[in-house]
């Protein structure tokens, strides 16, 4: 092997403390070195030309450049080498600037160190193998998990770019929490009015396959090449036959059998139901736990009234498998509430606020339903307990949030805003009512946000009291709210008719399980982790899996939508070429040596290692070995250090190469 060595002065940056000619001269004498030279600026055009010419002229097989950090110019020199016909992975950089000339004063010591660094690089390059970038094909189809506003936006953006989308929603309808909201800050426009058209667009889009009442149960593969298994739960209604007439719902005798979760348990629904009138798709489901047919085989009223013959009690869960190139997770949030105030519910959780004990102590989403024109009270503000209009209402912020004693240290970010909104809505509807808000800080960072909160205070005369409430108890149908105005330094007691708690936004119950299914990390609360908090906020650390909306951390609608569009463009970027190119720094198992202990499989942070059967000529398995999926492996080398039999090599950093570096010391 013929090696060329090129020592750069970097103007005077290197040569001031490193005797560059001496280093070049020393290298010349080392075995394998065919050519060695020093020059003022190696990265400059003449410098690069010098390298290329030398490669051609001296028929070099590999080069070592002693220069600045590889983070600076490795790519420059690799390109130069390639254009002169050398494989880019036969280029090694000795870092003579950042790691030597700039950090030492003593010319003698620095020169000696430079010599050693160059010698180490030469020894390594001797053992380097030519590598080619890995190409993997890409399936141009996106799996969007969660059909809230974030999932809807991402699905539409991708579909409009011409790619296929599979949108999986757990509930019978898409829409998520936004469909439950009354009006939205900071503009107070009607949530349903702006959301419903998009839901319909999703349903009608030829590029979107909508799977509601479905869940992702398995994800295999890697970026560009995932395989997802989706369970479609039995609706007991044939989607192809049903016309959405709703007759079955009106005739079902089980009117008040179960709480309506869309109405946050403030209303009831029969065994056969659509979550809400604008549901997409507008096809009911039958709740087996309530339906009388499943209890005792009787009833069947729905079958009688359905002229389309769409009711199908025999329908079973089905499994679908889809090839997928990228995944967008948009599963949203839920509220910290432990138990809703239903007449039978036992009190637990926020004991001091009587949450779940007093029926008129409700949470934010319940208030949204009460304030919503399509809600259980048709938008009139009424107490759940007796239907009376509350004349004095208290809102309490930061319930559960910023409350490490309840296990939640973070700020839920949106409750300051929606509390202001709800207080405003209340004042708009109950003109003679009084609204109080207990808060710790007002966090209203956003365009027109603080102005919005000020409007609640200045124009709608909502009374803001700074301090946390300690206890709520009921006395003669009033709720006594005990607080402290920490600004005035005075205790306050308000006898309210109704209390609304701005409870914390927390991840969905199954968030960690889904994360494990997909293979993405999550934080201690269960929110999904972004790859980098500032520079890669919508990517997970697993290549090809992106995050949108409140599943990553508490978010409002504008942020969820912005994130959704960002994930869509990330997926589209991925689809811009037919194959993916990756650095070839990946690990590979020597199957002859592998002992099949699979310690490597346990330690691989990316799940890149699989079990492969080795069969003899008769097709009988005689050995199991580790196999590393090159598309998934990120090249960390953890497996190589773990393998006892030394059967794994990391391309570009194999043991031989590292030993050579050590040996050159």
């Amino acid at each position: 092997m013929k090696i060329g060595v090129f020592i750069c002065h970097c103007g005077e940056n290197i040569s001031r403390t490193v005797d560059c000619p001496r280093v070049a001269h020393f290298a010349e004498g080392l075995p394998g070195v065919e050519y060695s030279i020093d020059y003022k600026y190696m990265c400059s055009d003449p410098g690069q030309k010098l390298i290329k010419d030398a490669i051609r002229e001296h028929k070099l097989d590999a080069i070592v450049v002693g220069s600045c950090s590889p983070n600076m110019h490795e790519r420059t020199f690799r390109n130069a080498a390639v254009s002169a016909g050398i494989n880019p992975f036969l280029v090694e950089i000795a870092n003579l600037r950042e790691h030597c000339s700039w950090v030492h004063d003593d010319v003698e010591a620095a020169t000696e160190k430079a010599i050693e660094l160059v010698r180490m690089a030469i020894e390594k390059v001797k053992r380097d193998k030519p590598l080619t970038k890995i190409r993997v094909p890409v399936t141009k189809r996106v799996l969007v998990i969660g059909g809230g506003i974030a999932g809807i936006q991402a699905a539409l953006d991708i579909a409009n770019a011409g790619y296929e989308v599979v949108l999986v929603e757990r509930e019978p309808s898409i829409g998520g929490h936004m469909s439950q909201l009354s009006e939205t800050f900071p503009t107070l426009d009607c949530s349903q009015c702006i959301l419903t058209p998009r839901m319909v667009e999703v349903y009608q889009h030829p590029k979107i396959k909508l799977l509601t009442y479905s869940e992702v149960v398995k994800v295999e593969g890697f970026i560009g090449n995932f395989k997802a298994t989706i369970k479609k739960k039995a609706r007991h209604i044939n989607e192809d036959l049903c016309s959405g007439c709703g007759l079955c719902i009106t005739k079902c005798p089980t009117k008040k059998k179960s709480y309506n979760s869309f109405e946050e348990n403030l209303a009831f629904r029969p065994a056969v139901y659509v979550p809400f009138p604008q549901a997409v798709p507008n096809i009911p489901v039958i709740d087996e736990t309530v339906c009388m047919y499943y209890k005792n085989g009787k009833c069947g009223m729905c079958v009688k009234v359905c002229d389309r013959g769409a009711i199908d009690f025999e329908q079973k869960d089905t499994m679908l498998v889809a090839d997928i190139g990228a995944i967008i997770v948009a599963t949203g949030y839920k509220l910290y509430n432990i138990e809703k105030a239903t007449p039978e519910s036992k009190y637990k959780g926020y004991g001091e606020y009587g949450y779940g004990k007093y029926r008129d102590v409700i949470d934010g989403l319940q208030f949204e339903r009460i304030a919503s024109a399509s809600g259980p009270t048709a938008g009139e503000i009424k107490r759940p307990s007796d239907g009376k209009e509350p004349k004095k209402i208290v809102f309490i912020q930061c319930v559960g949030s910023r409350d490490p004693s309840k296990g939640i240290s973070y700020c839920s970010k949106i409750c300051c805003m929606y509390t202001a909104k709800q207080a405003m809505l209340y004042k708009h509807k109950v003109h003679d009512g009084e609204a109080y808000v207990f808060y710790m800080d007002i966090r209203a960072g956003g365009k027109m946000y603080d102005e919005f909160v000020r409007r609640a205070i200045e124009e709608d005369h909502v009374k803001y009291i700074r301090g946390r409430v300690s206890k709520i108890h009921e006395e003669n149908g009033k709720y006594i709210v005990k607080g402290e105005d920490t600004i005035a330094g005075m205790p306050v007691e308000i006898d309210a008719d109704m209390v609304v708690l701005a409870t914390a936004m927390i991840p969905q119950d199954n968030a960690p399980k889904l994360a494990q299914t997909i293979g993405i990390p999550y934080d201690k609360h269960g929110f999904y982790n972004e790859a980098h908090p500032k520079l890669r906020p919508v990517e997970s650390t697993t290549a090809g899996v992106f995050l949108a909306g409140a599943c990553q951390s508490p978010k409002d609608i504008p942020e969820s939508v912005a994130m959704a569009s960002a994930t869509a463009s990330k997926a589209i970027i991925l689809f811009a070429s037919d194959t993916l190119e990756r650095e070839p720094v990946v690990a590979k198992v020597n199957e002859d040596l592998c002992a099949g202990c699979f310690y490597c499989k346990k330690v691989c942070p990316f799940g890149a290692i699989e079990v492969r059967d080795i069969k003899d000529v008769n097709g009988i398995i005689y050995k199991e070995v580790a196999y590393i999926n090159q598309g998934v492996c990120q090249g960390c080398g953890t497996c190589t250090a773990t393998c006892l039999s030394k059967s794994i090599e990391l391309a570009g950093f194999n043991n031989e190469e590292i030993f050579a570096e050590i040996a050159a010391l």
């Binding site: 004991g351 108890h473 006395e475």
Partner: protein, 299 residues
């Protein structure tokens, strides 16, 4: 007397100062009732006062020293656990022991103070836990009287369940263990607001005004929620809620007398004992339970 499953249960007993004076009846009824259930108590020899509120509010080290002296005695006497019927004693003992075993500096300080070494973590139980350990089934089995006419407000006060992460036996805001015991006697319980509100016991003498106000609020809330008797598990609470009704009547002219029983007395009634045996006649507010007739109680 039927033997308990698994043989006779024995517990160490730390009466606390009130038990031998103002709360005699608590001591009396406790011993009677659990004896009836086949449990015996070994009183701690030469126990001393735990220092109560006055100790820890003025001198932390003194407070720990006074409490830990009793833990030391229990250890020397070979006891694994002690029952402390007074909520304040219970709280002092459990907190001091917790601090001692969780803070090495405090441990060495206290060990030096008492010239001893603490190795054994002594179980410290209040009366609620004691009943739970005996088993509610025992009460049900031995029930002699039907108490279903009673609507009981269970009052825990402040020190029994707090701090919940150390006492670890019930919810701090909505505890239910006392209700379960009361229900085992056949009496009904009411759902009310002030079961963990403080009655201000520490200021019983120095700021009577505060104590009377606070206790009045507690009693009124119990009445408002349909209770006809209140049950407590602490001599301090009892003093404030029973005896202070005398002052209460002066400060709040319309105040109606409301009976307050020790939990042990209520259990005793259900086991068929009479008022005199249980010391109920020693209360300031009368409470008579003549089989199905409740006299002199606010309905």
């Amino acid at each position: 007397m039927k033997p308990l499953t698994g043989g006779n249960m024995r517990f160490g007993y730390y009466p606390g100062c009130s038990q031998i004076s103002s709360a005699k009846e608590y001591d009396l009824s406790l011993k009677k009732v659990i004896g009836n259930l086949g449990v015996s108590l070994d009183e701690l020899d030469d126990w001393s006062c735990c220092g109560a509120t006055s100790g820890h509010v003025t001198n932390h080290k003194l407070a720990n020293g006074l409490a830990m002296r009793n833990i030391m005695l229990a250890d020397h006497q070979g006891l694994d656990n002690i029952v402390a019927p007074c909520a304040a004693c219970y709280n002092r003992l459990i907190l001091s022991q917790y601090e001692t075993f969780n803070h090495p500096e405090i441990k060495s300080e206290i060990e030096e103070l008492l010239s001893t070494k603490f190795e054994k973590d002594i179980g410290i139980f209040n009366v609620l836990e004691l009943f739970m350990k005996i088993g509610l089934g025992k009460i049900v089995e031995n029930r002699k009287r039907e108490l279903s006419n009673l609507n009981v407000a269970c009052y825990y006060g402040c020190l029994l369940v707090r701090p919940a992460d150390i006492t670890k036996f019930d919810d701090a805001e909505e505890p239910t263990s006392m209700e379960r015991i009361v229900e085992a006697t056949g009496a009904k319980t009411v759902d009310w607001n002030h079961k963990v509100e403080c009655c201000g016991a520490a200021h019983s003498i120095a700021r009577r005004d505060i104590v009377v106000d606070l206790s009045k609020k507690i009693i009124d809330d119990a009445i408002a929620h349909g209770a006809n008797v209140m049950v407590v598990a602490c001599p301090m609470c009892h003093t404030n809620l029973d005896m202070r009704q005398r002052t209460m009547k002066k400060v709040y002219p319309g105040h109606k007398e409301f009976p307050v029983l020790y939990l042990t007395e209520l259990v005793g009634l259900s086991l068929g004992m009479n008022e005199k045996e249980l010391g109920i006649d020693l209360h300031y507010i009368d409470f008579k339970y003549d089989d199905n007739i409740i006299k002199n109680t606010v309905a």
